[in-house]
């Protein structure tokens, strides 16, 4: 009988721990939540809700090699805008993204959102690392 309880508690604890793992990283998830709001306000019309963008016009963020390999460039693009030719997942894009006029904390938040959504997995972007990116 005691074995039964042991197994039950063991299973329950595994269930609970997996349920809470994604929320242990409080800083990241809070920043992502704020970032999602910024994304929904200013980014979604072009990059779309699934981060897939529009082929040939607006580069994808989901599974984007450009974003995941060069977060610094992405921070620069969000702070100061981006124009000219870039290659994302083998496809060239030549467009203008105007600077969305965010403060540095919002840049960090939206970076954390796009680096960790739609299957992307990135490191936490801090306010300091955003401040360090100059034009």
């Amino acid at each position: 009988m005691s074995r039964f309880w042991f197994v039950l508690i063991f299973c329950a604890s595994i269930l609970f721990s997996t349920a809470f793992v994604p929320y242990q990283d409080g800083e990241l998830s809070k920043s992502m939540a704020r970032g999602k709001e910024v994304y929904t306000e200013l980014c979604v019309t072009c990059h779309l809700v699934d981060g897939k963008g529009m082929e040939g016009a607006f580069p994808p963020l989901a599974g984007s090699d450009f974003l995941m390999k060069n977060p610094q460039k992405a921070i620069h693009a969000i702070k100061f805008g981006l124009e000219g030719e870039i290659t994302v997942n083998g496809q060239t894009y030549n467009n203008v993204m105007p600077a969305p006029g965010l403060n540095n904390q919002e840049v960090a938040d939206v970076m954390n959102y796009i680096l960790n959504s739609w299957g992307n997995k990135g490191k936490l972007v801090s306010l300091k690392s955003v401040e360090a990116v100059k034009e």
């Binding site: 306000e41 779309l48 529009m54 016009a57 124009e83 467009n95 203008v96 105007p98 006029g101 965010l102």
Partner: protein
């Protein structure tokens, strides 16, 4: 001597490269009804928004980032116009449209729309304002703010801000719903309306809501999402409007006095997250668009072609698309769009289109370009 052939080849190669570049710039584009070339004026303006053509041949152009620039003899003057108000640049905010008074040659009034920065206690963010001023010694003088939109919000969306005079000399302008869609249905806030005022900012006595308690008296129509296009139909005298809808619901409307255009009660589009916004596309007492775009083209401005330079296009509408980086030429019959042609594919996110004093159509694209459409052989 041994190398001579190399030199020759280099010259031939260089020569042919130059020729190709030249012919690209001068390439004749054969469209359905008109063959034309594009004259490109290179600007250093990342996001152009509004254009005005002065009687002396100068072109005024706004840079969303907050500068007013002068183009003289196809060159952008390095010195921006001084005295431009400070603008709120979050998201879509910034310096917007330009419009000359119908009697500009006599009175010199230049109208400017912009996202004003909150400066009162308890207010934050930006909101659309309309001002007029005169241009003297490259400076805006005699500035008067004619309309102050409210309430302010930190949101960076949907400022509207296009302006156009009608035949009677009324100034129409638009303000988007600023990301607060329910307010487009309220007459008590400035969100989501098209306005009509006198040239000096006073309210016309016959505006539709002047006797409605609590209403914004300058309002002329309501229920708009983000109208960024206004153009006078030269044949009928009606004010035509384009507005950004949600995903798949951009609209072309004729603005009628006191009418409700439905946002967000009815729409042909859906939310950007794919969820349904409203199941209704039609409702009693609400105007229907002349046409809608699905998918959305992200329509900014529109213009009616009246110029003799384009007899083949006369009476057509040119609409610009931010999303598909092209323009659409719409043919009309009895107030309906009967044919559509897409042109200038890939020019860049096109923010505005206008007809200059010289009769040519000008198209301003993001990415530092202003192009003039020149009919071939003319």
């Amino acid at each position: 001597m041994k190398f001579a052939p190399h030199f020759v080849w280099t010259f031939v190669l260089l020569g042919s490269l130059l020729c190709t570049n030249r012919s690209l710039a001068q390439q004749t584009i054969q469209s359905e009804k008109l063959a034309f070339t594009l004259d490109t004026i290179d600007t250093d303006i990342k996001v152009p928004w509004g254009l005005a053509f002065l009687p002396n041949g100068d072109i005024l152009i706004t840079d969303k980032a907050g500068e007013l620039r002068v183009i003289r003899n196809d060159k952008v003057l390095s010195e921006p116009v001084k005295g431009v108000p400070k603008v709120y640049t979050r998201g879509q905010g910034g310096l917007f449209d330009l419009e000359l008074h119908p009697n500009y040659e006599k009175n010199g009034w230049l109208y400017i729309s912009y996202a004003a920065v909150a400066d009162k206690k308890g207010e934050e963010g930006g909101m659309t304002y309309i001002m007029r001023a005169k241009l003297k010694d490259n400076t805006l003088v005699e500035q008067q703010i004619l309309f102050k939109g409210y309430p302010f919000t930190t949101g960076g969306n949907h400022f509207g801000a296009r302006m156009e005079f009608d035949k009677q000399g009324f100034l129409y302008f638009s303000i988007g719903e600023r990301g607060e869609k329910e307010k487009a249905q309220s007459l008590e806030t400035c969100n989501g309306k098209v306005y009509r005022i006198h040239d000096d900012g006073t309210i016309p006595k016959d505006n539709p809501f002047v006797n409605t308690p609590g209403a914004v008296k300058a309002a002329y129509s309501y229920g708009h999402r983000n109208p960024q296009g206004l153009a006078l139909n030269p044949t009928t005298g009606e004010m035509w409007e384009t507005e950004h809808g949600p995903m798949g619901g951009d609209e072309l409307n004729i603005i009628s006095k006191g009418k409700n255009y439905g946002w967000p009660k009815i729409s042909y589009g859906i939310n950007y997250d794919g969820t349904v916004l409203t199941k209704d596309t039609v409702m009693a007492g609400i105007e229907q668009p002349i046409m809608f775009w699905r998918p959305s083209i992200a329509t900014s401005n529109l213009v009616f072609v009246t110029s003799d330079k384009y007899p083949e296009w006369k009476g057509n509408i040119i609409v610009c698309s931010l999303k598909f980086k092209n323009i659409e030429r719409l043919e009309l019959e009895d107030g309906k769009v009967v044919h559509k042609e897409k042109l200038l594919e890939g020019l860049g996110r096109i923010r505005t289109v206008a007809q200059g004093q010289d009769g040519y159509l000008y198209v301003a694209a993001e990415g530092k370009k202003l192009v003039r459409i020149i009919p071939a052989g003319k």
